[in-house]
Each structure stands twice: as C-alpha cells, then as structure tokens.
C-alpha cells in the first residue's frame, strides 16, 4: 500500500469515527504532542475534553484543550473516568485545531510510567487493538 493510500485511509477513518467530520475541526497536517499536568477533565458527550497545563522553556504555563472520544466508546474499551487523574503528568498526541487556537484532538495519551492508550478517534493508530483483546 502506498504512503498516499495509507494517509487516505487514516483520513477516512478519522472522518468516520467522530460524531462530526474530524478534518473539519482538526488540521491533519499539523500533528502535535505535548506534555503537561492534567488540570481539568470533562467526561462529557459528544467528546471528552482534557486540559493540560503545559510549561514552556521559560516557565510560562499555557492551557491546552484536547478533544477525545466520547465516554461511551472509551468505557467499552475499558477506559473510565478514573483512568485519567487530575494532577497527573500526561503526554497527549493529536492534531491542532484548524482555527489555530490552543486546542487539539487527543488521540493517544501516554502516562508517566510509559503506558499509553488510544483515547481518540483514529483507530488506525492502534491497529493491533483490532486483532487482539485489550491487555489489562
């Protein structure tokens, strides 16, 4: 499969998984990966929102919002509200909002101990999950 085809598949997957068109809201040409402290969690529909306080090299803290999957989809996969703890250091990767604001999609979260989990809408990022049961 060509790289172009893979990218196309990723975009199609993203568009199909959300309750809205992913590419209408997020710029898939602008991947982002930020580490910060989880300050706030909105466990709400149609998408959960996580807010990280991200410190830059000058010590300035900026708040970033990440939109991820809805509570129901996460719950079915074994991720619950208590899986994401306020005050915890998290690294979240996704794509920036198209309007350039400090908002992004949240696709994969990495915890301080190195565990990671798919919390976003892009299943193609974790193809192994489609073939085998999630591990405890």
């Amino acid at each position: 499969m060509s790289k172009l085809a893979i990218v196309g598949l990723l975009l199609l997957s993203s568009a199909a998984f959300a309750h809205h068109a992913y590419t209408a809201e997020f710029d898939t040409t602008k991947p982002i990966k930020l580490t910060g402290v989880l300050r706030r969690l909105e466990w709400t529909n149609p998408h959960i929102w996580l807010y990280l306080d991200v410190k830059d090299e000058n010590g300035k803290i900026t708040s970033w919002g990440f939109s991820a999957s809805p509570p129901g989809m996460l719950t079915r996969r074994g991720i619950t509200k208590t899986s994401l703890k306020l005050g915890e250091v998290l690294t979240i990767s996704g794509h920036r909002a198209k309007d350039g604001s400090n908002n992004a999609s949240g696709n994969i979260v990495t915890f301080a101990d190195g565990r990671d989990a798919l919390i976003g809408q892009d299943q193609a990022l974790r193809p192994a999950e489609l073939a085998s049961p999630p591990q405890k």
Partner: protein, 250 residues
C-alpha cells in the same frame, strides 16, 4: 419493477443456506421457541474482540463500496452530495442531528434489543434513538418520511427479518454518502453462535442504484453492558471547526 422484485427475492434467498448452518442448539430461545435477541449488543462497528471485563473495541465501520451496486446514470450527484458550506447539509451530525437508519446501526455505540412475541424494540445508545417494530404487521398505507423510517418484522425460520421504508433523504454513511427517500432496507438477524449474530442489511434504493445490494456484519452480545446516556448536545463545541479559546478554554 418486476426485475427489481426478482432481485430482492434472489438476494434474500442467499441468506438461507447460511441460516441453515447456524447451530440450532446454541441459539438462545424465547418460551415460544423463537430465537431470543434480548440483550445489549456491540453492533457492526466493533471489533468483537471481547477482552477482560467484557470490553470490546469500537472500530471504523462503513458500507463497503465494493459491495454496492452500480449507481444509476446521473445518480452520482445525489449519492455524493458536494459540500455547500452549510454544516446542516455538509455534516449534520455535527449539529447533533440524527444519523438515521441505517447509518445508526453502524455507529460505534451499544445497541439493545427488547423482544416480545409481538414487538421488537431496538434501542440505540448513540443519540438515544429507537425503533418500535411490530411483528407480522403491514406497513401503514401512508408513511411519512422520517430519519428512522417505518419498520415491520417477521420470522423466516430462525431469522428475524425487518423491513423498513419511509426514510427521508439523508446520509447513508459518514464520508458524505447519501440515500434517497426511496430507500428500502431489509435487515436479517440470525445467530451464528450463542453470543454472535449475523446482521445482514439489504439496501434497495431505486433512485440511486441499478439493483439492490447487501452487506453482512456481525453483532456481539455483551452480558454485562448497559446502555449509557449519550446526550450529543451536552458539550458540543467547535461547530464547523470554529474552535475558539472562549468556546473551549473555559
């Protein structure tokens, strides 16, 4: 019309050999002997890889273009409607408008079936939609066009057959594919094993396709699941990609 009816009969009969292969002893049954579909199900949009604590994996699921019949001449414009700039048309679910049938069946959320001898009630977690489907009744003579349509059901041996008409022109699937108000669907449910059901849906849209076509999916029973609340309007933000700081960074 006669040709289209013949195709419908032929497509429906394709399911019979498979139905005959189902393990009759494994099929949960109602007191009247009919297969018992009561329960909460992971629909077609799950991987059905049941993990610890009865988990399952939501997965992108759409109708396979390779399964679709050829479009009628000139139907491409209706099937793939070009964006207009109006989100109400271009991406209506972003405004929390319904998926409608049959797209609702492919949403990666749980579904519950409540079955009595006279009625099938199909509850969809996504946007709290439902279908109340009488058994062995004809469609009303004058059916309004709605998002979920008018559905009636009957038994074909151990296969539950649901016939739906009265669907308004709406999105057939994500990725901006549409169906017309002539859409007629036939869903066929039959047990494969004690917790797995074949869900086959026939798409018959005489304004779009040269002939009916069908696709088979699977549903998995999850004994510990309950339907969850899913209020789309609860925290719907960034409509049309306008995701401003004041909108989000509250």
């Amino acid at each position: 019309m006669r040709t289209r009816l013949a195709m419908l009969v032929a497509l429906s009969s394709l399911s019979l050999p498979a139905a005959a292969q189902s393990n009759a002893k494994a099929v949960p049954r109602m007191p009247d002997g009919k297969p018992n579909f009561n329960g909460v199900w992971a629909g077609p949009a799950f991987a059905h890889n049941v993990g610890p604590n009865d988990t399952d994996t939501p997965v992108v699921t759409n109708f396979d273009p390779r399964r679709m019949a050829p479009l009628l001449a000139g139907a491409e414009k209706m099937f793939r409607q070009a964006p207009t700039g109006d989100v109400r048309h271009d991406d209506p679910t972003e405004l929390c408008l319904p998926d409608g049938h049959p797209r609702e069946a492919l949403a990666p959320y749980a579904q519950q079936i409540v079955q009595t001898p006279d009625t099938i009630v199909w509850l969809y977690e996504y946007m709290h939609f439902f279908r109340v489907i009488p058994m062995n009744k004809p469609h009303p003579a004058d059916v309004d066009s709605t998002f979920m349509g008018d559905a009636v059901a009957k038994w074909d041996g151990d296969t539950l057959v649901i016939d739906t008409i009265g669907l308004r022109e709406w999105t057939l699937a994500a990725s901006n594919q549409w169906h017309s108000d002539a859409l007629h669907t036939v869903e066929r449910l039959r047990y494969i094993d004690a917790t797995t059901v074949s869900y086959e849906i026939l798409i018959d849209d005489s304004k779009l396709f040269t002939k009916p076509w069908s696709q088979e999916f699977q549903m998995k029973l999850h004994p510990t699941w309950k339907l969850l609340e899913q209020v789309c309007e609860e925290n719907n933000r960034c409509e049309s990609g306008k995701c401003t700081p004041s909108d989000v960074q509250k």
